[in-house]
Structures are given as C-alpha cells and as structure tokens.
C-alpha cells in the first residue's frame, strides 16, 4: 500500500530546513527550479509527487462492481474529503449517465406526479451543506477483534465528508402534494441493479436533499452523478445514488437492502431493522496504525469526529488506554452531521502507550468502548460499530491496531 510517512518526514523537516539554510549561503536551493514552469490548464491535477489513494481490495470473492474502496483518512487534512478520494460502495458498478437524458420521477401517493430534468432541479432554490457520509459497514472488521496490522484507512475508511449542493426533498414533495396517508418514500437508483431503499417520510421532510453538487463540482460518477439522495447523518446505503425515482407510499417496500442486508443481527437471533442513524464516533488518524514515531518527543495527535445526531460537543484523548482523558481542541467549523477535526499535543515519553479518542455530541452521547457495544449486541451485528478505536504505540515507535486485547 502507498502510504506517506508524514510522521517521520515531519520530525526530520527541522534538520532538512536547517541543511537548506546552510546550503543557501553557497548557492540556490536545488529544489527550486529556475526554468519556466507548465502553462495554464483547463482542469487541474494534483502534483505527481502525491500518491494518496483509495484502498481497493482486489483479493475478494465478490466482483469489484459489488465492492467498496476506502478513503485514506491518514492522508487527508481538515474536514473535506476530496471528491476523488471519497469512499465508494456500489452494488452493480458505476453507471455512465448522460445528464441530459436523466430524469427524476416523483410519484405514488401524491396529487401531482412529476418528471424533472436535471436542469429543472438546478433552477430550484439550492442548498449547500457540509455533511459526512458513512457506510454502516465501516469499522465492521473490529467486532471480531480486527487485525493488529490494520490501519485507519482499512478499518475506518468508509467515511468521507463533503459539501453537497442540491434541492430540499421536502420542497419537491410539497410541489407534488403528498397525501395524508403517506409514510414512506422509496428511493431508487438508475444503476444496473436499481438499488433501492425505503426512507421514512419524516426524514424526507426534515433535511433530506436531492443533490447534484459535490465540493463545488457536479457529483462524481462514483457518488451518483448526476443525482443522488443525501440523508444527513444516516447510513450511506440509504443515500441512493444515480437517483431516478422517488415513490411515495404508505408502507416500507422491504427491499433486499433493508432486509437481507443493512439489518443488525443480535445474539438472540433477532435483527434490528431500519437502523439509519450513524451514532457518534471519532478516530485518531495521525499517528495511527502503520505509522512510526521516530523519537520520543512532542507530536500533534489529530483525527476526526462526527455524529449522525448533530454537532460534536467535545473530543477527549487518552494515552494510557482509557484510564485518563484530556480535552482536545476542536478545529472550526464544527458543523452538525459533519466530520469535525480535532487536535491535541502529546509529549510521548518513548514508552508503551495506548492512544485513543472519544467524542461526545450535542445530545450528550459519549462514544462507548467497543467492548460495551459487544456486551450489548454480540459480534454478529456487523453494521454500526461506533466504538472507540485504540492504537498501540510500542517503545520503538511502531503503531498497531490496539483493538485486540
């Protein structure tokens, strides 16, 4: 896997800048070219020196069209995930859709069914909001102990955060005139498998968006181009991509994706259904599994926290495996249902340490230890692990997954 060793680089930056300063006395720094650079271009690309990439596991039984790729959380800054690095989860591949031919149909229990073009949607009052999107299967490896060699990308990389622009779903539904007995909306995609989920009317009328923009551009094809549903704070699977149809109904459709999948199996053999909200969660992204601290000393510990129920109120850090906790700084903006960046300065004494973060959201919910979730839910539920992630720091500075006892 391509992975930048920023921790090592950062520690050695002082020495290399000192070296450049010394060299500066005798001549121009070699890293600054004097020949003329590249001309302007129509669409920018990142520096060829940058290699951060989604993690694509090719060693799977299922085809890569029915798979997930993970965001390199350790190689992104701030709270916005670049569109090119936003995690993917598809069930029948990424369709290529001509926006001029695409239609959104709203029908069912409404007075005035509507067929809308993408251009028509763009004429309506627009809303831009920053929200995380997390697959409810994120971090699922840890229910059964995880792997000590795993890292933050492979464990937690099914969460990303972006600025989404679109139209209020409530506005669209009101234009159609929703009947009094309407309780659900079936959202369906135009992908090969016509992915579909039933969404409670209350959420559709509260803050759901029909989105066409992501980080200032049209949605990426992997994120649903030209239209997707966005349900702030709710599990990724329900945020139907390539949205082609909203059907207003009086009952849930009981689709395969809300019965066979995305239901949480409990120890007694019953399964929880319609577990939409992603509960408060945080993770230290730097330093994290796979990193190596070069020397004892001061490090910035940073990561992200998010809650499907609102804004993050506080994040705490432990370096002694949860015995004591200290408050981290929250980087503004701190937005509801969005990744929130936290930072904390740590003086590492060069000895064994177990570092972790835990967040509390504005409802007062504090992220639990994974063990508490397992005590309540067992290890078969697969989805919705929002437990605390521990990283184990060894005296030689190597960092491994600390979730295994």
């Amino acid at each position: 896997m391509q992975r930048s060793r920023r921790w090592f680089l950062r520690a050695s930056a002082f020495w290399s800048s000192a070296a450049i300063a010394c060299r500066g006395r005798s001549g121009a720094p070699p890293a600054e070219p004097r020949s003329i650079g590249a001309p302007i271009s129509a669409y920018g690309a990142r520096s060829r020196f940058e290699k951060a990439a989604r993690f694509v596991n090719r060693n799977t039984k299922a085809p890569l069209e029915e798979a997930a790729s993970q965001t390199p959380l350790h190689d992104t800054f701030g709270i916005i995930t670049p569109s090119s690095l936003h995690f993917e989860r598809h069930h029948s591949g990424v369709p290529e859709i001509d926006p001029a031919a695409h239609r959104l149909t709203i029908h069912g229990l409404v007075d005035r069914p509507l067929v809308l073009t993408v251009d028509e949607l763009k004429r309506l009052p627009s809303i831009s909001r920053i929200h995380f999107l997390e697959c409810s299967g994120n971090s699922s490896s840890e229910w059964r102990g995880g792997s000590s060699g795993s890292d933050v990308q492979r464990i937690h990389g099914l969460t990303s955060c972006g600025e989404w622009t679109g139209v209020s779903a409530a506005l669209l539904l009101r234009e159609c005139g929703v009947h009094a007995d309407a309780a659900w909306v079936l959202a369906e995609g135009a992908d090969a498998g016509k992915h579909d989920r039933s969404i409670p009317m209350q959420k559709m009328m509260d803050d759901a968006l029909v989105v066409y923009g992501q980080n200032g551009e049209p949605l990426r094809p992997e994120q649903g181009y030209p239209l997707r549903l966005l349900l702030p704070g709710w599990e990724g699977n329900a945020n139907v991509k390539w949205l082609r149809r909203l059907k207003v109904t009086d009952q849930a459709a009981m689709t395969r994706e809300e019965t066979s999948k995305y239901t949480d199996l409990m120890p007694d053999g019953t399964a929880r259904q319609f577990t939409f909200v992603m509960e408060p969660k945080s993770v230290i992204t730097q330093p994290s599994g796979g990193d190596r601290l070069p020397v004892a000393g001061v490090y910035e510990v940073t990561g992200i926290a998010w809650s499907g129920r609102g804004a993050i109120a506080r994040v705490e850090i432990t370096t002694d495996g949860g015995a004591t906790w200290a408050a981290a700084d929250l980087q503004t903006p701190v937005l509801p249902r969005a990744h929130t960046r936290f930072r904390w300065l740590w003086k590492w004494d060069g000895r064994n340490a177990v570092i972790a973060s835990r967040c509390t959201d504005e409802t007062g919910y504090t992220q639990p230890p994974l063990g508490e979730l397992i005590a309540r839910r067992g290890t078969n539920s697969f989805y919705h692990n929002n437990g605390i992630q521990a990283w184990r720091v060894a005296p030689d500075g190597t960092i491994t997954n600390g979730n295994r006892a």
Partner: protein, 196 residues
C-alpha cells in the same frame, strides 16, 4: 435564507410566471403539458407508459407483481442456466451469496443469513431477482422466468413444493421462516452519558 419572506414570495411568483410563459412559447416535446409544479413551474406529469417502465417495486402485500406464473420444476432449468455459476448447484456452494440453508443458525457464533433462514418476505426475492439478477445481466429474465427462479430458490429452502404455482396471488401468501425475526431500532442501546 437571507431574503425576507415577502420578497422571496414575490420572486417566486415572478419566476413561476416567467417559466410558465417560456414553457408555452417554446413547447418542446418534454413540455407538452403545462408544468406540473405549482410554485416553481417545473416538471411534467409522467405518461402511463413511462411509469410502467420504471415502477418496478413489489410490496410485501404483492402490490406491483405482474400477472404470470412459475413452479420450482420449471425454475430448475432457469436456475441452472442463469444462476448456478455464481450461486452453486444447490444454492449453498457460492462463490457468491449463499441462497439456501442456515435455518437455526442466526443465534449461533456463525450465523448463515440466506433467503431461507433470514429473509422476512418472499416478495422481496421476486423484486430483487427482477431488479438485480443475474448480476452480470440484470433485467434479462421474462416475468415467468422470474416467478420460476423465485419458486426454485424457495423450493431449495423447503418453503414451497416442487409443483406449487407461484404467482401474483400465491407469492404474498408464502410465509417465510424468519418473518417475525425483525425488531425496530432501539438505539441508543447503551448508557451513553459519561462524565468528561
């Protein structure tokens, strides 16, 4: 929004007027009827044919099922031709999702979630096969082939007999073994308030 409410309403009214005029002046095929949406003057009503083409979901009570029929006996052949390479000769072998077996396993350390052991509704199977299977060529089965493949997967799970006809009327009446296995979301399900 920063615009005062009255100003906004006026803007909307003007916008609707302008759009309405534009719609009547340049009547493209898309805009044959008058705009459907009352406030913003966008959209049109879908035609019956358009709705038929996309309104494909099937509800647990059978709404949405087309007329047609199939039996497991007929489905054996459909399954062998269109499903077996990915789901195995008896639905248990994979390599893709296991479709058969697992009864009684849901509360064990190794639960097997299959159509037979886990799925609460038989209508979901019909809907999903029409929607998404065969994985590499979704949408290529005829209605009767979908009924037959549905019947065969249910038959392999011991839920219907080999010659039971599965159709619009009978499919919603099939009782799945795990019909009452689902509960509502109780979260937060752990004590969540802690002292900082």
């Amino acid at each position: 929004m920063a615009i005062a409410r009255s100003g906004f309403t006026i803007c909307v009214a003007i916008a609707a007027l302008v759009l309405a005029c534009r719609a009547t002046l340049s009547a493209s095929p898309e805009r044959s009827g008058s705009p459907q949406s009352p406030t913003f003057g966008v959209g049109r009503a879908p035609t019956a044919a358009e709705l038929r083409a996309i309104d494909i979901d099937v509800a647990p009570d059978g709404r949405g099922l087309p007329s047609g029929r199939g039996t497991a006996a007929a489905g054996k052949d459909v399954y062998a031709r269109r499903c077996e390479t990915c789901h195995g000769p008896t639905g248990r072998e994979g390599p893709q999702d296991v479709l058969v077996g697992g009864l009684g396993s849901l509360s064990t350390p190794n639960p097997q979630k299959t159509v037979g052991s886990y799925w609460p509704y038989a209508t979901t199977l019909w809907d999903y096969i029409r929607r998404a299977m065969p994985f590499d060529h979704p949408g290529t089965l005829t209605t009767d082939e979908i009924y037959a493949a549905t019947a065969y997967v249910l038959f392999m799970n011991g839920i219907v007999g080999e010659h039971d006809e599965v159709n619009q009327q009978t499919l919603p009446l099939v009782t799945m073994p795990n019909r009452s296995g689902f509960v509502a979301d109780p979260r937060p399900d752990i004590p969540v308030k802690r002292k900082p």
